[in-house]
């Protein structure tokens, strides 16, 4: 019954509006539904760009999955912090820039800025996937500084900043930190089976 989960994600984001940083609590089994909801139901259908910062799944995998789901990826840009760490062949794709690893937080900030500049005045949602994987590679103090700066900066530019998090797999201190840096913590529940 997760068919409309993606549209519910979009409705929830639309209700919140821009310039609000959202911590989106998700379940691992609904991951692709949530991603689809953010990229297709929210960004694409509202004519927005989507900057997708991934530190958990390689952009090529996400691209393939979205193509299989026939999701429109025209306004989608990836900041891929995973592929380099796997030391595999990197296939240069127009909509993707690579950061060597998820601990190069300043470079991630600069790549977000880069895509925002190219987007001009177009409304943009910026997704950080995910707080869990960022927390594996970074000390909570620097991660807190990173999210504070980048989320505030995105809010000032009337973007839609969204941090994906799987709460039951997060350390308490990271969860508390996200509670402080995000304006809203939004749980996305799967539909209950009858």
């Amino acid at each position: 019954m997760s068919e409309d989960l993606h549209s519910r994600v979009a409705l929830k984001l639309e209700a919140v509006g821009p310039s609000v940083s959202i911590g989106l609590e998700i379940k691992i089994e609904s991951y692709f539904d949530i991603v689809r909801g953010l990229i297709e139901d929210f960004a694409s259908k509202n004519g927005m760009n989507c900057i997708y910062v991934t530190s958990s799944v390689p952009s090529a995998t996400l691209n393939s999955a979205l193509q299989a789901l026939e999701v429109d990826t025209e306004g989608l840009r990836f900041i891929d912090c995973v592929s380099h760490t796997m030391m595999g062949a990197i296939h240069r794709v127009d909509n993707t820039v690579y950061v060597e690893n998820p601990s190069m937080l300043e470079n991630i900030m600069l790549k977000v800025e880069y895509f925002l500049r190219l987007a001009g005045d177009k409304k943009t949602i910026v997704v950080f996937d995910s707080a869990n994987s960022f927390a594996i590679h970074n000390d909570p103090k620097i991660l807190s500084e990173f999210f504070t700066i980048i989320l505030n900066s995105l809010k000032a530019r009337e973007a839609y900043p969204v941090v994906l998090m799987i709460p039951d797999q997060l350390k308490v201190e990271v969860k508390e930190m996200l509670g402080m840096v995000c304006d809203v913590i939004m749980p996305i529940e799967q539909d209950h089976q009858p």
Binding site: S103, E106, N107, E113, L118, E145, F146
Partner: protein, 239 residues
């Protein structure tokens, strides 16, 4: 209470740098952009000229390290560059051509040669009606690091000339050059560098000196992109 008068600024167009400087380089300043190889000195200097051209200010670029064709080949990679409107506002010359035009033999140095060089640069600035000048790099022009007196002589004369002509200059150099005596002769220093953190190498930028400006002295992280030089805060990690 009288309000302190602010110096007029040359807005570099490099947003992060203008923010660090509180609005741009004070006009007519002569600024060193110093750093090791690969730190982004040439990209910063180049963008300074191109951004000026985009905003309607003519610029002169004297290159001593790259050929004119190689330099021109790099311009279209900047997304804000438009050949038709911007290209005509930028005059590029190699040092070799400049020396040949001045009739200066390679390896000859002295105050008279410095005077001739200044005179040639002045001619270029006047002819091009240039508001911005870049020399990349000054190390090749300065005759000998041991002859600090000549370095100072050249930069003092260049500074005077640019002030009279109303131009603002960026001079690219090695990090050691800025640490020497000429660091006190110029109006500003922008240090480009590398910062290693757990094996990752970040490009950095810091402004330790800029006459006529109240500026940040913090270290920033930069990226060289087709949208120009981007600047962000250096994270401290709670230290």
């Amino acid at each position: 209470m009288a309000k302190a008068s602010e110096r007029e600024r040359c807005i570099t167009g490099i947003e992060g740098l203008d923010n660090i400087l509180g609005g741009g380089i004070p006009t007519h300043n002569i600024v060193l952009v110093a750093g090791a190889a690969g730190t982004g000195k040439t990209s910063l200097a180049f963008e300074f000229v191109v951004r000026g051209a985009v905003s309607g200010e003519n610029g002169v670029l004297i290159t001593t390290v790259e050929s004119k064709s190689k330099l021109l080949a790099n311009i279209p990679s900047l997304v804000f560059y438009d050949e038709k409107t911007v290209g005509k506002r930028i005059t590029i010359m190699t040092l070799k051509d400049l020396l040949e035009e001045a009739g200066i033999s390679d390896g000859v140095a002295g105050e008279s040669v410095m005077d001739m060089l200044i005179s040639m640069v002045e001619k270029m600035v006047v002819t091009a009606k240039a508001k911005r000048l870049v020399i990349d790099s000054i190390d090749t022009i300065l005759p000998d690091q041991k002859e600090e007196r000549l370095d100072t002589y050249f930069l003092t004369k260049l500074s005077q000339m640019l002030h009279e002509k109303g131009s603002t200059a960026i001079l690219v150099c090695k990090a050691e050059t800025a640490e020497g005596g000429i660091g006190s002769v110029v109006d500003g220093i922008i240090q480009m560098g590398n910062l290693e953190r757990k094996g990752d190498l970040l490009r950095t930028m810091q402004v330790p000196k800029m006459k006529g400006a109240t500026h940040s002295r913090a270290k920033y992280v930069i990226d060289l992109t087709s949208a120009g030089v981007l600047v962000t805060t250096l994270l401290k990690g709670g230290i």
